[in-house]
């Protein structure tokens, strides 16, 4: 993670599901719109091909009343250990990384993220952007946990 990003975040949480399942789900960008509230849709540039480092995709978000479209790529893909992604084109640079550790409670996920919105969000202070992202991410994590809980029940 570059430390030059204007906004950085780090979250740790546990997902109660097998590692293989968690990794498969989170390392596939096509699942992003299922659990990320701000994500509108994702299109893999090579649909059908397995996700691997270098896989490219287009991802579209709605956040703070703005629509954003990015081209992004999978920057790191270490099976059932880590997964990274970064934007290659779009209104602002961002990058993120997951590290997965199997524990007794479930899969421990460490997620780090950084973005440099610059002036994209206009006059909104960076502190508020960060807080909003934080709020959204917490909601997303809750959604993610519910996803795996319901998957387990089913």
């Amino acid at each position: 993670m570059s430390n030059t990003k204007e906004i950085t975040m780090e979250k740790e949480y546990v997902l109660k599901a097998p590692l293989a399942e968690v990794y498969a789900f989170l390392s596939n960008p096509e699942n992003d719109d299922i659990w990320q509230g701000s994500c509108d849709r994702v299109e893999m540039q090579q649909p059908g091909e397995p996700v691997a480092a270098g896989s490219k995709y287009n991802i579209h978000f709605s956040f703070l009343s703005r629509k954003m479209s990015f081209e992004a790529e999978v920057s790191e893909y270490e099976f059932e250990k880590s997964y990274g992604y970064q934007s290659t084109e779009g209104p602002m640079p961002y990058e993120g990384r997951y590290v997965f550790t199997e524990t007794e409670e479930g899969v421990h996920v460490n997620w780090t993220f950084g973005a440099t919105p610059g002036k994209f969000f206009g006059i909104i202070p960076k502190a508020l952007i960060r807080k909003t992202m934080d709020k959204k991410v917490l909601e997303d994590i809750e959604r993610l946990q519910q996803h795996f809980a319901s998957a387990t029940i089913n």
């Binding site: 703070l64 009343s65 002036k119 206009g122 807080k131 909003t132 709020k135």
Partner: protein, 1338 residues
Amino acid sequence: MTLSVRPITDVQKGLVYLQQINPQTAAYNVVFAAKIEGEFDFDSLQAAFYHLQQQHLVLRELFAEENGELIAREQSTLKLDIRREDIASLSPEQAHAHIYAASRVAFNLYQDLCLRVELFRLSESETVMTLVAHHANFDFWSLALLLEQLAGHYQALSAGDSLALDSEAIQFDQYVDHLQALQQKDKYQAAREELLAGLRGSDGVLNLSTDHSRSRLNPMSGTSYSFAIPADLTAAVHETAKAHKVTPYMYLLSAFQLALHRYSGQDDLLVGTPAAGRDKRKWNGVMGNFVNTLVLRSQVDETSDFAQMLANTYQRVVTSVRHQSVQFPQLVEGLGLKRDSSRTPLIQASFAWDRLPQFADMAHFFSHSDCSATVEWGGLNLSPYWIPQQEGQFDLALEMGAEIAGELTATLKFRDDLFEAESAACFAANFVELLGQVTADPQQNIHQVKLVDAEQQQRILGLADSDIPVSPAVNTVHGLFQQQAGETPDAIAVRDPDGAMSYQQLETESSRIAALLQSEYKVAGKRVAICHQRNRYLLVNLLAIFKAGASYVPIDPNVPAARSQMIIEDGDLSLLIQDEAINHLDFSAELPVVGARMLGIAAAAAESLPAAQPAAQVSGDDIAYMIFTSGSTGRPKGVSVPHGCVVNLLSSFAQYPGIRQQQSLLAVTTISFDISVLELFLPITHGGETIIIGSDASADPQQLIAYMEQFRPQIMQATPSHWRMLLEAGWQGDQALTVYCGGEALPRSLAEQLLENCADLYNVYGPTETTIWSTIEHYRGGDVSIGRPIANTQVYVVDSNHQIVPQGVVGELCIGGDGVTQGYFEKPQLTADAFIEADFVTGTIYKTGDQARINSRGKLECLGRIGNQVKIRGFRIELDDIEENLRKIDGISNAVVAAKAQADDKVLVCYYVAEGESAVESKAIREQLKAALPAYMVPNLFQPMAQLPMTANGKVDRKQLPEPQAQQSDRELMAPRGELESRLLSLWQQVLKQELISIEDDFYDIGGHSLLAVQLTGRINQQLGLELDNQFLLSNTTIAAMAAAIESGETDNAHPTLVTLNKGDSSRTPLFLMHPIGGTVYCYMALAQAMDKQQPLYAFQSPGIEEAEEAEVGIEEISRHYVRVIQEVQPEGPILLGGWCFGGVLAYEATRQLQAAGREVAQIYSFDTRAPIVANHPDDGDDATLLSWFARDLAVPHNKTLHIPPEELREIEVDEQFEYVLERAKAIGVIDADADEEKLLNYFSVYIANGMALQMYEEHSVDVPLTLYFARDETVDYGPLLGWDQLLQQGLCKVDIAGDHNSIMYKPQVQQIADDLSCRLNDYHFQTTAEVVTEEVA
């Protein structure tokens, strides 16, 4: 390479600033265009330009900002931009458009030199050369110099000669030094003062009628219209000017001022005129911008003549030219007028006289004319190529000076966002007409001078006439009915909820009663009052009155008896027909009264009386009814309306929009309002059916909706308020219904809403004096107009001299034709004043007192009442009404009331003259007015006067009313009682800019508001070494309270976000109010002041106000903090919550969290909060939108408007947006120039955080009782319950509050909430106390 930096003049600063804030404008592009005939030597031409650039400093300079100052900086490495473009493939029109567009490309003065050259090759033998310069560093004189020197240089270079630079030549920076030195001299300051003295008292606003509404920001974009003064008139102008010892410039300027006076209706106006500014010969060879704008004031006295006007202009021009070095921006600054970003400051019209000797043989290059004569220039042949220039500087600018073939040519430049080209052409034609008239007879009175030429007048008169062809064959209302009854005797004519009557029955019964009225009561030719319930028998009796040869005078049983009594007294009545069911009225007059039913029974019983038509002979000139309308004297006046007028109205409406046989109309209007006549008689005179319902049902929307569904009428007429009431009550519309809407202005939003809910919508307009309706518009969307005249009706828009004004110009609406009535009953003077003759029409026309204009589509727009109406905090106030009541007070001989700006607010000030030696206490006046007028109409200040200022015409000169002085007598001044109070008093005086302050005065009562509170707190902290937070001034609102709190050390707050607005009785349950979107709670100060002081009242202020980092972005997170505090402050018992706007949502979420924690919320009081449902979320809530709202809300507490559309903000660099908003707020006085911007940024951070939070908040259903205080005058429609019915299953109570979303929280409207809320909280307190007592007893 940078060489030198120099200061610039104030005029230059102004122009650079204008260009910076309007980066796309070409308004200050000075353009010269000419066609070079034949071959030319480009290299030599280019070299000549470069040589000129070396010679003249201003051609090497850029503008820049240095240490916060605008300066000019020499950039010697930048070469002039000389471009060549081949456009030979374009048609001549395309080529012209291309070159014109290129000339309008805006300059970036920080990056571009002030001159660029473009050479457009049209063909082998033709090239258009354009020189485009920015006026900031270049003037018209410089252009002449440039052309002159360029020609010489080109000729020399093309001949192989070399050129030498003149290193000694004077440059523009020397002029700037000279000017700066001059400005330090006393003489300059004295000149400035003299000019300012001559301009004081002018508001610097020219109110021209525009085709399009003025946008908030002047786009500085314009177009030109060229015209010429005919040769004979040009010659006469010269001759007459000479005879009156003025120059043609002064002469034409005076004519222009007179035209502007006529167009604007203003007696006092300012026109700008450029002065060359080269006051010394040594400047004549220098390039630069020496031009200064002179401001010429014209005070038109309509009793004088044009010759006198010329003499005045002469004096003013001479004075201004003598002081031409006084820079225009210094005058703007010195006058201290409020800035209005929609206009150029101080002057919105300009007159320029461009006649330079250097251009003697090139005049036709600067005018749009047919003259294409070539001139020799540097060995080349140049011919004119007309490119308009410098467009958009002013609303209107007239440029003259050139004379071609004996004709003065003129270019009228106009802002194209305000005017259509046709209107500019019209102005030009009218200017020529006016010039011709004043030149033909300079001694004629100015008011006799006509503005509109004959051709235009014919066209306007053509628009004035109706295009509905109607020629009624019958001339009485009952005659029309009888004709119809003969055709459809068995059809239903009238119906009410209890029964119906056929045409034959109606005819027979009305004739019987008519016969009785005639034989027994001898009413023929007399007036019969009728006070009747609304049912089918009402129509029987009205027809009977007509048939008996009498006229009816309606008495509405529901209006106050005192008013009805006045009608009885003034109506010269012969009989009163009173419905026996109306038994609460007993008129004290010796007037015969007959019961309506009794009359019917007697008529039916009198078998000897014929049922056929009675013998009374009634003509179209006989009066059908007399309706009393309100008068400015406080006593109603009767308007007598003849049958012929009514027949015309009915026939016109039968034709258009039309009524078909058996179509029904639901009549809902009281008979004391004349529009009821159409409802009652239109159907039964044309085969339709009138359905009459009772007055209770008409006034009750639910009952009315039920009747509409029961009867399914095809037509219904009502006022906009009535229609709005129906929509708000849930009327779903009827796609088969034709809607007539009139009686007051129809807002566009309502029109659009109605249009969706009916088959057809007609907006109708008309005063009682011209018989119900005079114009009609079939509304199909867009702007609302009042349309075109009905049949045999003419409408005219006239000026104060009763002359037709040009199309598009605002004047008074007058109505002529067959609807014009006979005037006011027994009020000959009033009648003579309002019903006048005019020289453009035969017959009488009625002056409506309404302002109107005929728009470019030929339709009438009504623009409100002329005269004395003001709007304060959303209330429209007729000052006449207040003044009339003042004059009734013993001891007052005369009084006027004016709205004055004070402490960022608008207040009503009463100026009164006491009778004789008597002294009237303002307190006593206030008390008496309070008894007669609504609270919002009682003036705030009272100013005794020895006499009122008067105009020459003997009218009160309202412009000369003095600024109000502080009122010692109105409140007791308590002096400070110690050192601390004295120091606090001093700080209050500084911040509030007031001297007379009592230590018991409430900060928020005497002009204090949120931003001033911040300022005051800051000063107290600084001066007294304290660390008070903003809450301190919310909890301690007087000097005495502040001092007490500081002395007792009660300045710390256990809960920094909780403000105690009212400590109240601690045994009562407190009410916790949540802050609105802005995060502060100043909006609750007026409520706290107005509420029962027993009620403990707290308010939550966002922690982000003090520390921006503390602002949260989720409703849940924000509420969580407040819930924690509530739990601490009130650990047990049911909780009361409330909030305005966003605050209501916080209260709702807090309820959810409190309930989850096992607490009971007894009630939420929501002040016009829109329910937090997805449908209520704004479509676009980005930062620009939120900043736009923030700007709007900054202005609200000051009763001002600051509308900066989000689109406008998005055009501005992100880093500058907030600063821009602050500048705009400062410009209108919403924030002070020295406001704490860091604090304001905190405010905005909180605002934007809350805005984002609202958008992210998800819908939750909570079971809680909620009282919704609904702002009934809010124009933005979120439904009748603001969506709360979708969230709350039960316990929703709505209280209507007069005012809009903002005004309901401020005085005076907030009193309504305070009264109701206090009452509810008192009830709650007594109820809970009783429960406790009961439990204890049990």
